[in-house]
């Protein structure tokens, strides 16, 4: 058992250290002999055991004695740990590549490849920006009426639904990636504004009215809002200025915003969005699969294209 363990460990070390390659070769010889049902006669295990125990001996005689006595048991434990560790490392790498998190789709927890958890951070519905902490398995589009939201319907089967908040950092991080995704691929695209902060609530009726007044200009308005600073878009005058520059009838939008029908529509939109079980923004659905937090571009693209991605 020790030979297999040593072979795995030394093979990895040998990638970086030439001086360990002959040991790895010796370990391989031992493993090969075992596989071919021959006894390992190289004395590799004894040699390594003596070196390990000897090195320990210079630090602690008790530890050396324990290792010497239970060498086989310790080898087994280390072997199982190594195999498990290799499995979990492989799984972690797979998950990171596929979902942007070592722990799986929308899963938080430490990931060495994303130590700060950037790919999973969300602006929580409570208002603060932290790691996603809701129940990521429950995010869904089932029974959500997307017709209530601004949509570019290209009549294709692929779809991207982007639920985010104009003033949230992680939505802002994901926005250009989603724009790239929808510009490079034929998809039906839906955007839903889900304000996390109170000062952004006023944009809900404005967005609703702007979309109804001119759908083409609405998408440019979206770009402008995401491109502007969070402080600026918190000011109504600033947004009105953008609307004006885009050629919108600002007074018509203002009066539309205050109409009871608009208020009811905005509430209806909110109710629909709650059905997604959203707990933070951004929440992106690519062909129905929910992704919480800003993921690397490859993750969106891979899910969108499926087998075509490879």
């Amino acid at each position: 058992m020790f030979c297999i363990l040593a072979f795995i460990a030394l093979s990895i070390i040998s990638i970086f250290s030439a001086s360990h390659r002959w040991l790895a070769k010796e370990a391989f010889d031992c493993v090969f002999r075992r596989i071919t049902l021959r006894p390992c006669t190289t004395g590799f295990k004894e040699k390594m055991k003596a070196q390990l125990v000897g090195t320990l001996l210079s630090r602690s005689a008790i530890a050396a004695r324990i290792v010497n006595r239970h060498f086989e048991l310790l080898s087994w434990i280390l072997f199982i740990t190594t195999v498990a560790s290799i499995f979990w490392t492989g799984k972690g790498l797979y998950n990171y590549y596929m979902y942007g998190s070592c722990n799986g789709l929308n899963k938080t927890g430490f990931c060495a490849l994303d130590p700060k958890g950037e790919n999973n951070k969300v602006s929580q519905t409570g208002g603060s920006c932290v790691d996603g902490a809701g129940d990521e398995s429950k995010v869904t589009l089932t029974s959500v009426d997307l017709s209530l939201f601004p949509t570019v319907d290209k009549g294709v089967k692929d779809s991207v639904v982007f639920i985010g908040c104009y003033s949230c950092d992680y939505t802002r991080k994901a926005y250009p990636l989603i724009q790239k995704l929808i510009s490079e691929n034929q998809v039906n695209y839906t955007f839903a504004h889900y304000p996390i902060k109170e000062e952004m609530l006023y944009l809900l009726p404005i967005g609703y009215c702007a979309y109804n007044q001119d759908q083409n200009k609405y998408w440019r308005l979206n770009d402008k809002l995401f491109a502007s600073s969070k402080e600026d878009i918190a000011k109504k005058e600033f947004v009105e200025n953008i609307l004006g520059n885009l050629g919108y009838d600002v007074s018509a939008i203002n009066s539309c915003s205050q109409s009871p029908q608009t208020q009811a529509a905005v509430v209806a939109q909110r109710i629909e969005l709650e059905k997604t079980n959203i707990y933070g923004t951004p929440l992106v659905f690519v062909n129905g699969k929910g992704l919480v937090g800003p993921k690397p571009y490859r993750v969106y693209e891979r899910i969108l294209k499926g087998f075509r991605f490879w």
Binding site: G43, E46, K47, K49, A50, Q51, L52, V53, G54, T55, L57, S58, A61, A64, R65, N68
Partner: protein, 398 residues
Amino acid sequence: MDITKIRHDFPVLSENGIYFDNACQSLRPQSVINAVTEYYQEYSACAGRSNHHLAAKVTQKCDEARTRIAKFLHAKRKEEIVFTRNTTEGINLVANTLNLKEGDVVLTSDKEHNSNLIPWQILHRKSGIIHRIVRSRDDNTFDMDAYKQALESGVKLVSLGMTSNLDGVTIPAAEIIKLAHQDGAVVLLDAAQAIPHQVIDVRKLDVDFLAFSGHKMLGPSGTGVLYGKYELLEKLSPFLVGGDTVSSSTYDSCEFLPPPEKFEAGLQDYAGIIGLGEAVSYLERIGFAQIQKQEYALNSYITEELQKIPNLVILGPSDPKERSGIISFYISGKDHHQIALMLDASTKIMVRSGQHCVHSWFADRKIPGSVRASVYFYNTLEEAELFVKELHKVLSIL
């Protein structure tokens, strides 16, 4: 002898732990290293072939080394010194050129290094010589009675290790040679383990051939010497042949040079030869009386301490005086390799473990192997104390 001063001469000793593997290979003093380096840096040319000034210098330096070694061995003339790569080559040279025929008896002891065993086994298969073995006494010392008895059957060559690398026991060479000569036998001594530790006077011994290596006596590795009485060397047929072994050649014949040239085929290890000459000078400066005194002091201490360890068996006689600088031991139930490896891993104490190229002896006695600590004059009592202390620690966990 100022050991602290001497230790400064050996660069390896400064930071490489405790070197107790001197029976395998000794360390080299700076003067030997310098001699070798000087050759490569200042006059790395051929000897004996070219006529330019560098070649002349190499020729002169090699000749000086040969003269120095001849004097060191108390040889009659420098031409009795043949440079070889090591002891093994020297023994093989004699084995293959002495013209041993079917039925000729070669006598060795039962604890010869493979270098002095395998050549005779091969000759037995190839030429039908008879290889006889004189068994040692129970304490591994030379059994003179058994030897005398073996001589009675008619022996052509007696080939013995002068000092055993197994246990450090030195044979009574002078008496052995005298008896062999009385019976008309030629004597070849493997002096690899003897020459670093004692004065060897080949004329007093009246030995016919004597082979040793440079690497055990402070010299460069890959160097060795075969001493042979000149009249015997003349009679030997050439072994390795080629460049510099002949004075002239035609397409179908050649004229061999006299000894030692006829045995020194091809370009020699000039740096090594010059380094070996320097090693001899160094040993002479220290003096064998001082060397033996220090070895005995260390061996006595280690032996005394090791004898206190239960089940520990020291190979050879219990008296350290009879074991040169070697303390070879085993403990039943404890793996010799484990002990050696752990000493190295824990405290960088370097000893040898295994069967020390004397597999035949271990196989005969059904002993798996031994740990061999071999000290030299540059080792200290503090090192010996640490060795004993660490050995106790290792044994306590095994």
